[in-house]
């Protein structure tokens, strides 16, 4: 299939309804994105994690336009793209050899599609209906689009947490799922540290800066009970924990648009030798690249180079996590003082 034709067909149908959309502008790093939503329910779902980024006085013209729509707004229901199975990977990456300009992210078992025109920085998120939105999608709204948009910039989405003490000492916590990333980030947040993210953050690899992006966190039920009991009541999807991770909204999030990065710490669930130790940079690359590139499949080589730059720029550490929160907080506080 020629993705250009599919994009243009969908785009023309989306634009036909432009008068019916609500426009909202959000800050993404030092840029702005205009997001057009086709109904208020859809907006509520997708702005839950990025409401803190909404701005009413954008300083520059927006550099990204996103149309977020359901089938309800279109005159005719959208048909699925006919993609060549050989070129489509499980995580939605389609090797669109016909064009470097157009991108598609399509997981065939889901009724949603992301499309992007990289020349005009126009993106479309289409989902069949509100009930077809995968539970995880609004926890990192438009991450695929932010990834595509960032390819031509020094920005890179990173699968990582980020915490700061006072804005001067800011550390990233990258790790694959199940390595203690969210647990560590949330325990430190509950202990008074500044929260920049627990799942995806935006990095400027040229300036070595981290930008806050999402105000949601996802945690396993067992983690909540064992390490974060005070957050159990704040889980917003309590009735669905059998099939979903617990979703938290970080309340009273302090707006921290940009902080310089002080280092990269890999959380490691350990049975002893607790503490934070300097480690080889290849370990940091292995903690960031595979999991980030798996979730953000397009243009992996570009992202890999950006991640390399991030790792080469910063000191890297491994943190053998102690089981008690007090010890964890003390170790991190002491580490920050010494660094």
């Amino acid at each position: 299939m020629v993705i250009k034709e599919y994009f243009e067909d969908v785009y023309n149908r989306v634009i036909d309804q432009k008068d019916n959309y609500e426009k909202t502008t959000v800050a993404v790093g030092e840029h702005f994105a205009d997001i057009y939503t086709s109904d208020s329910a859809l907006k509520r779902v997708f702005f839950y994690s990025i409401a803190h980024l909404i701005t009413y006085n954008a300083l520059t013209l927006s550099s990204l336009t996103i149309y977020c729509i359901t089938d309800d707004i279109l005159e005719e229901r959208l048909k699925a793209p006919t993609l060549c199975a050989d070129e489509l990977s499980l995580n939605g990456n389609y090797n669109n050899s016909d064009s470097d300009r157009y991108f598609i992210f399509y997981q065939p078992w889901l009724h949603q599609i992301y499309l992007y025109d990289s020349l005009h920085n126009i993106a479309i998120y289409w989902v069949k209906g509100i009930n077809n939105i995968p539970w995880w999608e609004p926890t990192f709204s438009f991450r695929i689009i932010f990834h595509w948009w960032s390819l031509k910039t020094p920005y890179q989405l990173i699968h990582s947490g980020a915490i700061s003490k006072d804005g001067n000492k800011t550390f990233l916590f990258p790790a694959p799922s199940g390595s203690g990333k969210s647990t560590t980030t949330l325990q430190l947040w509950l202990s008074g540290f500044l929260y920049l993210g627990d799942d995806y953050i935006m990095i400027d690899v040229d300036k070595n800066i981290v930008y806050q992006l999402y105000s949601t966190a996802k945690v396993e039920t067992i983690t909540l009970e064992k390490f974060l009991p005070e957050l159990k009541e704040k889980i917003i999807n309590k009735n669905k924990l059998q099939e979903q991770k617990g979703i938290l909204h970080i309340e009273n999030l302090q707006k921290i648009y940009a902080l310089p990065i002080s280092g990269i710490i890999m959380p490691n669930i350990s049975s002893g030798n607790y503490g934070i130790f300097e480690c080889n940079k290849s370990a940091a690359q292995l903690a960031i690249a595979p999991t980030t590139l798996h979730h953000l499949p397009h243009n992996r080589d570009t992202s890999f180079r950006k991640i390399t730059k991030l790792v080469q720029t910063n000191k890297t550490y491994i943190w053998n996590l102690p089981p008690l929160r007090d010890t964890l907080v003390n170790q991190f506080s002491q580490f920050q003082v010494n660094e």
């Binding site: 229901r77 048909k79 699925a80 793209p81 006919t82 199975a85 489509l88 990977s89 499980l90 995580n91 997981q107 065939p108 078992w109 889901l110 009724h111 069949k128 995968p134 539970w135 995880w136 699968h159 694959p176 799922s177 799942d199 996802k218 099939e243 979903q244 991770k245 080889n280 940079k281 290849s282 690359q285 292995l286 690249a289 595979p290 999991t291 590139l293 798996h294 979730h295 992996r300 080589d301 890999f304 180079r305 390399t308 790792v311 080469q312």
Partner: protein, 142 residues
């Protein structure tokens, strides 16, 4: 002429190579004298190149065997390929040979491979949308 395949991402961290096959999701770390030896790529004759390296660095027979085995593994994993002509772009690495590990070692990290290579295609309905696969929908969410 042997050289690193174009599709392989390769970086030097603290005198170790980190290799990534971004298509398959396989990652590798390479340590020790093999790093210094392979930083000489591209070259045409492996045996001759290794012989010169061993002689120049006074490397042991055990180490020679380790490097040879790693070489075979890299060929097997299609990280290094033999092409008839010299590539236009080659990697260049600045290695501090005083700080490399004593023994060569290649480690494979396959955490993401299974997820990347699974077949995602299912039967489609009349509108072209694939029929829902209950097991697939639980695979994401990070």
């Amino acid at each position: 002429m042997f050289y690193w395949k174009k599709s392989i991402a390769i970086e030097l961290f603290d005198n170790e190579f980190l290799l990534a096959n971004l298509d398959t999701g396989l990652y590798y770390t390479l340590k020790g004298p093999a790093v210094a030896f392979l930083s000489n790529l591209p070259f045409e004759d492996f045996d001759k190149e290794l012989g010169n390296f061993i002689e120049k660095n006074d490397t042991s027979k055990d180490e020679k065997l380790l490097i040879s085995n790693i070489w075979l593994e890299l060929i097997e994993q299609a990280l290094i390929a033999d092409y008839p002509s010299r590539p236009l772009n080659t990697h260049s690495f600045l290695i501090d040979e005083t700080k490399i590990a004593h023994h060569s070692n290649l480690t494979t990290y396959a955490d993401m491979k299974d997820l990347l290579l699974l077949d995602p295609i299912h039967e489609v309905d009349t509108e072209g949308w694939p029929k829902t696969n209950e097991t697939s929908s639980a695979k994401d969410g990070n």
